[in-house]
């Protein structure tokens, strides 16, 4: 069943949700990009394909305090300082990003369950949004993601005049009830039309033909020593841009911050591209940038599928293609290792 909300009522729609739960929507970051902002009546929805950072922040924040050790004299007290999650809604999550949550879930929700992540996941409600204008950097179809048919608690399509909504889960149903007065039942013809238009564009995308044949489960030995890694990695700066804009990168570091009165133990995103990544007492297991570079792409294309029934940990959102300072990215890796130039 599909319902529609006129775009003229979009603000009322947001207000209705925000009246009950915290709502986040894509908005301008003031510097040409988009960022999820907490909605209030001044927040302008930005119709943008993708935010700079993916919405993985909502479940796996960039930094997160885990616990605190409070020192008093020579005594140490241990405090649980986690902030309890409340229900929240994220609006406008693109189909690729929605898919990324599955990839993160397999890491954080498998045993031992990451309770911090689980709690957020439980409280989060996703209103996805189908793509109407894919970018040249998009290649989600490579990973069997249909950008016109998003998943999430509620799927949404936006046309020139209306927002079309379909609840997929109980959480979605409940949320739909909140906005029932702003929506009406309708037929899905405009949605179907949009899908057909987008499909035509998808065929024209420059990365449409990207192939996954050589990747996936059990390909480690074939790919690990491929000489192509040398040239692929030669320009890599070792920064964490790709990692930090990536919706599926899930590595983190746990660090202690000495407050002067104790220690706050927190975790923050880490990047396998960093020279200090997973440094141990003996030193660093991956000594050169080539090895670190290889790690990132092998993880996405081989190691993760190895451990997760062949599922790739890339969703083709294209963020890294747009943001890499030296324009080196997973598409080039896939082509090169796949035998293209």
């Amino acid at each position: 069943m599909i319902r529609k909300c006129s775009l003229t009522k979009l603000n009322d729609f947001f207000a209705a949700i925000a009246g009950d739960k915290t709502l986040y929507i894509p908005a301008s970051d003031g510097a040409g990009g988009a960022v999820y902002k907490k909605w209030d009546s001044n927040t302008q929805y930005l119709d943008v394909l993708n935010t700079v950072k993916s919405p993985k922040d909502f479940f796996f924040p960039h930094t997160e305090d885990l616990m605190e050790f409070k020192v008093k004299g020579k005594n140490i007290e241990l405090l649980d300082i986690r902030q309890e999650s409340e229900d929240f809604v994220v609006f406008g999550v693109r189909p690729c990003d929605v898919k990324s949550f599955d990839i993160l879930d397999r890491v954080f929700l498998s045993e031992p369950v990451d309770s911090y992540y689980a709690s957020r996941r439980e409280h989060g409600i996703i209103i996805s949004l189908a793509c109407s204008k894919p970018s040249e950097t998009c290649f989600c179809t490579t990973f069997d993601i249909d950008p016109t048919e998003p998943e999430g608690d509620i799927s949404a399509w936006k046309t020139d005049d209306a927002l079309y909504l379909r609840a997929n889960t109980e959480k979605g149903e409940a949320l739909m009830a909140l906005v029932e007065h702003l929506t009406e039942e309708c037929d899905d013809a405009p949605v179907v039309a949009q899908k057909q238009n987008v499909k035509k564009i998808l065929d024209k995308l420059p990365l449409a033909g990207l192939k996954l044949d050589v990747f996936g489960k059990g390909k480690t030995e074939e790919l690990f020593d491929d000489p192509a890694w040398d040239t692929l990695s030669e320009a890599c700066l070792g920064c964490g841009t790709c990692t930090f804009v990536c919706p599926t990168c899930q590595c983190y570091d746990i660090k202690d911050f000495d407050t002067g009165n104790g220690v706050i133990r927190y975790r923050c995103w880490d990047s396998c591209m960093f020279s200090e990544f997973t440094k141990m007492a003996h030193g660093n297991p991956r000594l050169t940038q080539k090895e670190r570079f290889r790690q990132r792409f092998m993880h996405k294309l081989v190691y993760y599928p190895d451990n997760n029934d062949g599922l790739f940990s890339c969703v083709g959102c294209g963020r890294c293609l747009a943001k890499c300072p030296v324009s080196m990215n997973i598409a080039k890796v896939m082509k090169k290792l796949g035998g293209e130039k």
Binding site: T231, C268, K332
Partner: protein, 331 residues
């Protein structure tokens, strides 16, 4: 449109490579899209003919690569440097970061590079192709039926609009015509921020720096940041951190980074180019450059090899720290 043709570069590269004068060529490699260009080491003639590019999107400054590439190479490396890149080149030589003898520099003129972000903002997403014309670019997108004509000036990177020099300060060989040191307005934006009230300045930078994701791209691309181990990666340095945990950490990172490159930063603008969050990082470095020029006399890092950076120099009559704000508004 760049004044010098790709073919001229390729011919020189191939002839130097074939003559054995150089063993490899540091140049730009064509990527998936017309605008994505990757720094690459070429050693093969056919590879150069097919994949070497020189167009309005070759922004990357190769100087820093020389630090690692000269160490890894036994032979000479041919590197193509745009005027602004040569300043970084000299600065690195001043700091003994690589062996000059292992590099063959070809200076090439530059007409400014395009900021893809600005281009997308103008013609929309879905860039398919671009053709350089006399006045600009003819761009086709997935969503426009006709190619769109774009005025090159409107999409030039900020650093190119405010280009400080079209003159090479280092080269073994120059292709094309030598340019001049430019009269740029590069400090206008700094002055505009200085003219704000402290509250406005605070709000401005708080806003900008709050977007920082600590990807380190600015540091890792910076030709002045070639430390064997960065203080921000060193747990005993007292400033190490990995994430912009709060607004203090955001500021700490950028203040210390700007301070470490103060007097050494050539204002190449790579930091702002690579920032995925479009933080105008060059405005921090330019603030130091503007102050240094104002307090201690004009100084351009990298202008000549071996010059004494202002922070490792002094004058008996230097300005007192308390007089820094003289003539500027009080709070």
């Amino acid at each position: 449109m760049q004044k010098i043709n790709r073919d001229v570069l390729i011919d020189r590269a191939i002839s130097l490579l074939n003559s054995g004068q150089v063993s490899s060529v540091l140049g730009w490699r064509q990527g998936e899209f017309f605008y994505d260009v990757t720094p690459a080491v070429f050693t093969d003639e056919n590879d150069i003919r097919e994949n070497f590019v020189w167009n309005d999107f070759c922004g990357a400054n190769f100087s820093k690569y020389l630090v690692s590439k000269t160490k890894a190479s036994d032979g000479k490396i041919l590197v193509f440097l745009k005027p602004c890149d040569t300043y970084s080149f000299n600065q690195l030589l001043t700091e003994h970061r690589f062996d000059r003898e292992k590099v063959y520099v070809i200076g090439i003129p530059c007409e400014g590079m395009v900021d893809t972000g600005k281009l997308k903002a103008q013609v929309g997403d879905g860039l398919v192709s671009a053709q350089s014309t006399e006045e600009g670019l003819l761009v086709t997108t997935l969503y426009s039926d006709e190619p769109v004509n774009v005025d090159i000036k409107s999409v030039l990177a900020e650093r190119c609009i405010n280009c400080k020099s079209k003159k090479h300060v280092a080269y073994d060989e120059l292709l094309g015509d030598e340019g001049q040191i430019e009269d740029s307005d590069r400090f206008d934006e700094v002055a505009r921020i200085e003219a704000m009230s402290p509250d406005e300045r605070f709000a401005f930078w708080q806003g900008e720096l709050s977007r920082c994701i600590r990807c380190n791209a600015c540091r890792d691309v910076c030709p002045a940041c070639t430390c064997e181990k960065c203080v921000f990666d060193n747990p005993v340095s007292g400033v190490e951190n990995k994430a912009p945990v709060n607004s203090f950490e955001e500021k700490m990172f950028h203040i210390i980074r700007a301070f470490h490159v103060a007097g050494r930063c050539t204002d190449c603008g790579e930091c702002s180019r690579v920032c995925p969050q479009n933080i105008p990082l060059h405005l921090l470095n330019r603030k130091f450059i503007k102050d240094i020029n104002g307090f201690y006399g004009e100084y351009q890092a990298g202008e000549c090899v071996g010059s004494r950076a202002p922070l490792v120099d002094y004058n008996l009559e230097d300005l007192e720290a308390s007089d820094v704000f003289e003539g500027r508004d009080t709070q």
